[in-house]
Structure formats: C-alpha cells, structure tokens
C-alpha cells in the first residue's frame, strides 16, 4: 500500500465512521456479518488450531531433548507461543484468506455492477452501510475466535504430545499451569482486535475502489489477501514491540 492508497484508505475510513442513516438496519447487517465472520469460521479455526498445537508440542519436545531440561517446559513453551503469537497471528492470516477475499469480492462485484452507485443515489452513505458492520463484526468476532483457538491449540498440544509419547499428561498439564502470566492474554486480545480491523477494512478498501470487470474484481481479491497478510505481520511486530 503506497502513500496515495494509504491516504485513500484513511478517507474511506472517515466516510465509514459517519453517523448511520438508521442504526437498526446497520445492527441487523452487523449480526449477519458476525455470523459469517465468526460462526462461519469456527470449523476452520478449530482444525488449524488443534493441529498447530499438536505439531508445536512435538517440535518443542524434539528440540528440548535433554536431561537438564524438565519435560514440563514443553507445556509452558507451547502455552506462551500459542497465546502470544500462534493463535492471534495464524488465525488472522487464515481469516484474511477466507474472509478478506470474500469481502473484497462482494464489495468489488457491487462496485462493477453499479450496486454501490445505486446506494449512493438513494442517499445512503455506501462506505458506512457496506463496511462499518463488517469492521464491527471483525473486531468483535476475531478476538472470540482467537480465544477459542488458544484453548484448542493448547488442547491439541496435549493430544499430540500424549498420543505420541513426547510428554506425559501430568508433565504437560504442570507445564501449562506453571508461571502463567495473564498479561499475555491481554497482548493476544489487543493483537486480535487490531487484526480483526485489518482483515475487514483492507479488503473492503480494495473492493470499494475496483474499476473494470470480473478480472479486476479477482485481482483486487488477491491483492486484498496479500496486503492484509503483510499488514497483519507488520502490526504484529509493532504491537508486540509496544506491549512486551
């Protein structure tokens, strides 16, 4: 995203946060988006989180094989890595692919088929109507998905570790319950909030300014996922630097 695009993005956000024409309708659309972003992504996030947790446990166990390192460290490392980095970031990148491309395609198609022009002619603030409910749904549902991801990833680590014999159930449970710092949850939720905003607003921007036809909508969709992923990783670094 160059500076011109960044400026246009900020101007679009300014239009997004104008006072809604009728809050009741926006709220209805917001719940539909929450269903799409949140409920519609539970399965995907559950599968990915469980497997990542399991794989993480095996890899940590492989790298920390030593008589001087207690096995409980496997659970501790898995817990902190999951909470601080894997659950928020991997979930966000996966959601950027699933939700970002859908948002960009939906808004882009509305643009090229003049549906956005139709909204404007009716006197409706089209950025507000189309994007605001998606952003609110993103910043509320992504943190919830990340919380779910944390539990499943740590649970997946338990399954992976115990089924393979890399760590005993008792050692793993001791590991994940020892020296737990609740602040890591705060950091993860701040990240999830920021990522939820990026996952919805960046693809919406890409879709909103599409010009052309089907090919351009597809290109905007690809660009939306790429730019979202890069922005997520950059913001991940910034938030981590600021909060830890």
């Amino acid at each position: 995203m160059n500076f011109t695009n960044f400026g246009k993005y900020l101007l679009l956000l300014k239009a997004v946060f104008r006072k809604p024409e009728k809050s009741r309708i926006y709220i209805k659309v917001m719940f539909q988006q929450m269903n799409f972003i949140g409920v519609g992504s539970i399965g995907l996030i559950a599968i990915i989180s469980t497997f990542i947790g399991a794989v993480m446990t095996l890899q940590i166990a492989f790298q920390l094989v030593s008589d001087f390192v207690p096995k409980t460290i496997i659970g501790s490392v898995n817990r902190d890595s999951t909470i601080l980095e894997l659950s928020p970031t991997i979930s966000a990148i996966v959601l950027a692919g699933k939700i970002g491309s859908a948002i960009s395609s939906e808004i882009g198609t509305m643009r090229v088929s003049e549906q956005i022009d139709a909204l404007e002619i009716m006197g409706i603030n089209s950025p507000g109507y189309l994007i605001l409910p998606k952003i609110i749904a993103g910043i509320t549902m992504v943190p919830l998905l990340v919380i779910m991801s944390m539990f499943l990833s740590i649970g997946g680590g338990y399954l992976g570790g115990t089924l393979s014999g890399a760590v005993s159930p008792a050692d793993y449970v001791t590991g994940i319950t020892t020296d737990f710092n609740p602040y890591t949850i705060t950091v993860a939720l701040v990240k999830a909030f920021v990522f939820g905003f990026i996952i919805t607003s960046v693809p919406a921007y890409e879709g909103f300014y599409v010009k052309g036809g089907a090919l351009e909508v597809a290109q905007a969709s690809t660009r939306a996922v790429v730019v979202s992923c890069i922005t997520i990783l950059a913001c991940d670094y910034i938030v981590t630097q600021l909060l830890l």
Binding site: E21, E114, Q115, D117, A118, E120, I121, M122, G123, I124
Partner: protein, 250 residues
C-alpha cells in the same frame, strides 16, 4: 425541473463534456441521446453527483447541486430515483427487499405499510406476486421493471434512467418506454432518459438533447427531429436502412 449550465468534465487529458447546457421540465420525458462516447452517461453522472464537473452548474428546482455539501446532497438524492443500465439490483435481496430497501432506510412506516407500497410499485410495473424472487431468477426485462419499481418506491421528484432498453427485445423495450412515460406524466416527475435507441427517441422523446463529441449539437422534440438539417444528428438518427426508409414518412 432540472437545469444544467455549461457543464465541463474531463478525465485526464480527455475532455468528455465541453460546456453542455439544457433545461429538463417536469411531467415530460426528457431524452439525452448521442453515439457511443458522446458523453451521455458522463453528463448523467455529473447531474446526479457521481462525477463532479470541473465547471458549470446543476440546479434542481433552482437549488444549486454542484456546490452542496455531503449532507445537502443526501437530501436531494432522497428525491431522486434511478434506473441503472444493468438494473443494479442488490443480488443478495429478494425483489421485495430491493424495493423495500429505501423505505426501510428513510421512512418510519410499519412493515404493513411498506409491504403495501412494495405491492403497489410491483403492480405498477406489472410484476404482481414476484416479491420473493431473487434478481438471478428474473429476465432482463423483469429486472428493469423491478429497477423502476425500486426507483419509484419513494415517490421521487426526479427520475433518471440510463439506457433502459439495452439488452432488451423490441417488444419489451416498448413496454419499458411506455411505463417510463406513464409514470412521468402520472407523478409529474422530471424524467431524464439516456438512450441511443431510436424507438425510444421517436416514441417518448418530448424533449431531446443530442450530444456529439461532448457538445450539445441539437435540442428539440421527437416531432422536430426528422426535419432538422444538422448533419451530425441526421447521421445518428438515420444511420439504419430502416430509419432512412422511414424518414420520408415522418
């Protein structure tokens, strides 16, 4: 009444509109005609605020539109109905929801009242009982008629229609043209139709503004159009063999 004065619009170095003026009265069907690339749709978009002209004014009943702020433009737009070339129906909504959408947004009517209005509009465009269909289930002509029903749902003072006959068979085109004319006269709306369909021109053109290469070349009615000596207009109107053969009978 809508009056435009000296409208100029460029895209980069390409000057599309070169000082267009005209006056579109209420209760009559006003047509903007011209060949492809003559600036018809750009002029329409300048009039409704989708494009900002570099120079000139657009007045809705003596209210200057081009210099209005966002909120003032929104108020004018609530008085506008528009039928787009591709109908621009919302894909995810049924016919009923499409027509009810502006009512939901801008009125405090009860659901029963809104439904009555939707059914009235559907009846007006001869689509009774099609409430629950989705746009993907409609033919091109039906989509246009739903587009018209949505455009008139809020009782607009100004009705804009962009290429109403594109992609339609001649019979359906005539139905749409007659519907536009009827609604214009019935509700005394200021109707502006952008078209290059000669059947529309001869059938419903009470006032016609002819554009050529971004300039106004002629204005008049469908009764006068056959008797003009403007070469560019004659080349446009009587381009087909049929129209050439018919010219002598006008």
């Amino acid at each position: 009444m809508i009056e435009i004065k000296d409208i100029h619009k460029s895209f980069g170095s390409n000057e599309v509109l070169k000082g267009i003026s005209g006056r579109f009265e209420a209760g009559v069907t006003n047509l903007i005609i011209g060949g492809s690339g003559s600036g018809k749709t750009t002029l329409l978009k300048c009039m409704i605020g989708l494009h900002q002209p570099e120079q000139g004014s657009v007045q809705y009943d003596n209210r200057e539109f081009t210099t209005m702020n966002f909120e003032e433009k929104i108020e004018i737009r609530k008085e506008i109905g528009m039928l787009f070339q591709g109908s621009a129906l919302f894909d995810s909504m049924t016919v009923e929801e499409n027509i009810m959408f502006p009512l939901n947004m801008f009125t405090d009517q009860s659901r029963k009242e809104k439904l009555e209005r939707v059914n009235f509009c559907l009846e007006r465009v001869n689509l009774e009982g099609k409430n629950k269909l989705f746009p993907a289930e409609l033919s091109g002509g039906m989509k246009k008629r739903v587009g018209i029903a949505r455009a008139i749902a809020m009782n607009p003072k100004y009705l804009f229609v962009d290429e109403p006959n594109s992609g339609l068979d001649p019979k359906t085109s005539i139905v749409i043209d007659e519907l536009i004319k009827e609604l214009t006269e019935e509700y005394n709306t200021t109707t502006i139709v952008v078209t290059h369909d000669m059947n529309s021109v001869m059938g419903i053109g009470d006032y016609i503004l002819f554009l050529h290469e971004g300039k106004k070349f002629w204005e008049g009615s469908n009764k006068e159009i056959a008797h003009t000596d403007v070469q560019e207009l004659n080349d446009f109107v009587f381009a087909s063999r049929f129209m050439k053969a018919a010219k002598d009978k006008f």
